[in-house]
């Protein structure tokens, strides 16, 4: 079996992964960094982020204000020490990106421009029109090409981590082009594989968002934290699930129901004004807005279309000039994918799975309980997002914590043993045997992997959506057990070694099932309603029992076990979330 050695291995080539790789290269150019990514880095899902990235730089803003908005937005489930680090390092990280060439939109005087965003009291969202993620990712990727110590394994799919006696020694990957299985040996490993929105059928997430890193960590015994918190973005295009950025509302867009009524006023989100009012109405947090949609649906005030129920996003009053200048991508997406022009027509939207607040349990440096293993970005849960992430915090998060994890991984690489134990290599050989020997052997036709995926997604949508209750969650739990058993009977049409995307998808679905299991078990355990986790059978927030993170890990019997970990409170005592006042 071929082995490739790096000092630091970064898994995932999105925003967090590239930021981490650059951090390593800058900290110590003698260390070699390998970036293994299942897609070319510029394809990573960071590319799809639209609205912007938050950092307090305006003179009237303050770090405390950013921290408070984040913590209250997260329904007091954020670790406040993490949030403090986050808001403090945010401006410098964002400026660094500017120095690397990111085309942030500017004011006429040449300074960085900011725009309002949901749940934020001040304008602190930096933006590059409405393609912020795209520009951020390409800036990071192009900048990373500068460093000779970074080498890329593009289109290498990591199958699993190599963990022995509480230390991570690397990972096993398939080079897609050849089907070759390679052990990537490293002194420290940074997981930056993003979230797993594809456990749901209707999501803004790319096809590649299959929770791989979460599943690797979970299988390696690392707990996943707060997995029940899945964010629904209130404005996705029906049928495709394509995201229509919150910036549409930041610039002054309205959400209206069947009768053209700005219904958010009925959901304790303030009173309508013609212009955007921060922390009010359409600029409320995403969880509350998505829940309001369900309320409208139940009252029969949504619009029925061939793609299901929708409400309308109205940006016509913003005018063509502003839309073309600040929201050109929204216009492009609406025209291409919905065949409407938002300058003249209403945009049909509905809530859509967008982001996972939960993820691999880490400390403030991205370190997991397994030595030598770090995580940053959506795959990780540091946690700054609590029960509901504020829009424009995620791009900043991947910069801040990508950089921190990278720097910490450098220290770890210096302390790590010189060569991995034989046990790790044996593990790698086992995986090779499993894939080449079992999965790629022609077999009698069994089930298709797509069937398993579709049933999993349907179950999660039905039972672990915006509103949940015990009965449904139990059904989903049982369904997932059944699907896990049925995975053994799945066969592949494709037994080729060359660019075998069916094998890839099989491994992805295996990861998705693990992530789905973590989501459902954590949701079952949390008998309260908080942020994006709303239980019909427990409609109130319960700070006495659940002002705590859920940690789910797989027991030795293979069943998930959920325990609670208290939230870190520094300066902001839990209080009621108030919007629109």
């Amino acid at each position: 079996m071929e082995t490739v050695h790096h000092d630091v291995l970064v898994i995932g080539g999105g925003g967090a992964g590239l930021r981490a790789a650059i951090a390593v290269a800058e900290a110590d150019p003698r260390l070699t960094v390998g970036v293994a990514s299942k897609v070319y880095p510029m394809r990573s899902h960071t590319v799809s982020a639209e609205g912007g990235a938050a950092a307090a730089i305006r003179p009237e803003d303050s770090l405390d204000e950013h921290a408070y908005d984040t913590i209250s937005g997260g329904d007091w489930l954020c670790d406040q020490d993490a949030v403090e680090v986050f808001v403090q390092e945010a401006p410098e990280e964002m400026l660094r990106l500017e120095h690397w060439g990111c085309p942030w939109s500017r004011n006429p005087d040449g300074r960085i421009a900011t725009r309002p965003f949901g749940g934020m009291k001040l304008e602190r969202t930096w933006y590059a029109a409405d393609k912020t993620g795209f520009h951020l990712l390409h800036t990071l990727y192009q900048t990373s090409l500068r460093f000779p110590s970074i080498s890329f394994h593009d289109e290498w799919f990591v199958v699993d981590l190599l963990v022995d006696e509480g230390r991570c020694h690397g990972a096993v990957a398939i080079e897609l082009a050849s089907g070759k299985i390679v052990a990537l040996i490293a002194r420290s490993v940074v997981l930056c594989t993003g979230g797993g929105g594809r456990v749901y059928p209707f999501t803004t997430n790319a096809n590649i968002k299959t929770g791989d890193g979460m599943a690797f960590a979970y299988r390696a015994g690392v707990p996943l934290k707060d997995m029940e918190f899945v964010q629904y973005h209130p404005t996705g295009l029906p049928f495709t699930g394509i995201l229509i950025t919150e910036a549409t509302r930041g610039e002054g867009g309205w959400l209206v129901n069947k009768g053209g009524y700005r219904y958010l006023q009925d959901y304790d989100l303030g009173t309508p004004e013609p212009g955007p009012v921060k922390r009010s109405m359409e600029l409320g947090p995403r969880d509350r807005l998505s829940q309001a949609f369900v309320g409208e649906e139940e009252k029969g005030r949504t619009v029925t279309t061939q793609w299901g129920e929708v409400v309308h996003l109205d940006i016509r009053h913003l005018g063509e000039k502003l839309i073309d200048e600040r929201l050109p991508f929204v216009r492009e997406l609406c025209r291409k994918y919905q065949k409407i022009d938002p300058v003249r027509e209403l945009i049909p939207v509905r809530p859509v799975v967008h982001y996972m607040m939960g993820g691999v349990h880490t400390d403030l440096d991205g370190a997991t309980p397994v030595a030598g293993l770090f995580a940053a970005g959506e795959v990780a849960c540091v946690s700054i997002n609590g029960a509901n992430r504020l829009g424009s915090n995620s791009l900043t998060e991947l910069l801040v914590f990508g950089a921190r994890a990278g720097k910490r991984a450098v220290q770890e690489a210096e302390d790590a043993p010189d060569r991995p134990p034989d046990a790790a290599l044996t593990q790698a050989l086992d995986l090779e045997r499993q894939i080449h020997g079992n999965l790629l052997r022609p077999a009698e036709k069994g089930e298709r992997v797509a069937t398993i995926r579709d049933e999993m997604q349907a179950s999660l949508e039905a039972h672990a959506g915006i509103y949940r209750e015990e009965e449904g969650l139990t059904t989903a739990r049982d369904k997932l057990r059944e699907l896990r058993d049925r995975m053994a009977g799945v066969t592949l049409d494709d037994t080729s070694l060359t660019f075998n995307t069916e094998l890839l998808h099989y491994l992805e679905v295996r990861n998705l099932l693990d992530v789905a299991e973590a989501v459902v078990h954590s949701a079952l355990n949390r008998e309260e309603s908080r942020g994006s986790h709303q239980r019909r059978d427990f409609p109130e927030r319960d700070d006495d029992r659940f002002l705590a993170h859920s940690l789910v890990r797989r027991s030795s019997e293979g069943e998930p076990e959920v325990e609670l970990l208290p939230v870190t409170i520094t300066r902001w005592e839990p209080a009621e979330r108030v919007y629109g006042k």
């Binding site: 590319v47 690397w100 192009q142 090409l145 082009a177 495709t240």
Partner: protein
């Protein structure tokens, strides 16, 4: 409106028969379906061996470029409807070696991209503590268009010169070099000139112009290349009349 539509898909199985073949699939027709949706239907329900790339399905990741009825397109942004009644021919992008089915090998582009140094080059870097480099909206406008490239490779596929002369740096990489050359924060134009002024840089281009036509993001690489030729030529003739200046 038909119930189904036929797709003729280019199949190349490096481990099977030698030559590529076209395989016909019949898929349900739906108004809102893109070509990519039809391919996904084949993959999920008919033939799991079909290989192709896709990710964001919103036209920004650049993965799903293929040749549909002869034209390079993003399949996630190309409706089935205009091709009715079919059959619709789906092939990999021209100009790239085919690894399998609809998957081309893009390593060549990645190497070329790195060669044109697509990053900010400065003699002195300002510390972040001193804030941002000021850049007015007009200054940003000078390079903004070229920064919109999603590396989808449609321009390479449309460029006959790239297919004829694989050494050509190519439209997207040159546009991205210009994206930095024209950025007011950058001072690296001279270093990039080393690569761009080679024959395989801008001079291979004969301005077919198709790269700009097929570009889904309106980047206009053809314009970037011609501008560079004009500037390089003016520099050259200026250096002839001004001794001591090197082109």
């Amino acid at each position: 409106m038909p119930d189904t539509v036929k797709l003729e898909v280019f199949r190349y199985r490096p481990e099977g028969e030698g030559a590529p073949v076209y395989e016909t699939f019949e898929v349900p027709y739906r108004d809102e379906w893109m070509v990519l949706d039809a391919l996904n239907h084949i993959k999920d329900h008919q033939d799991g061996t079909l290989s192709y790339r896709w990710a964001c399905r919103m036209g920004v990741c650049g993965s799903c470029g293929m040749t549909v009825n002869g034209e390079p397109v993003l399949t996630c942004a190309t409706y089935l409807e205009p091709f009715l009644p079919g059959p619709i021919r789906v092939e990999p992008l021209h100009g790239f070696p085919v690894i399998r089915d609809l998957v081309g090998d893009l390593e060549d582009f990645v190497e070329k991209l790195q060669r044109v140094k697509p990053w900010i080059i400065r003699e002195e870097e300002k510390p972040t503590s001193e804030g941002e480099y000021l850049q007015t909206p007009e200054e940003m406008d000078a390079y903004k268009r070229y920064s919109m490239c999603i590396n989808c490779m449609l321009c390479y596929a449309a460029c006959p010169i790239y297919e004829l002369e694989p050494g050509f740096i190519g439209p997207a990489a040159i546009a991205l070099a210009q994206r930095y050359n024209l950025d007011s924060r950058d001072e690296g134009a001279r270093e990039r000139h080393e690569v761009l002024a080679e024959h395989e840089g801008v001079w291979s281009c004969t301005f077919v112009g198709e790269c700009s036509i097929v570009c889904p993001k309106d980047v206009d690489p053809a314009g970037a290349i011609q501008r560079y030729k004009v500037d390089a030529t003016l520099d050259f003739f200026r250096s002839l009349v001004t001794p001591g200046r090197s082109p």
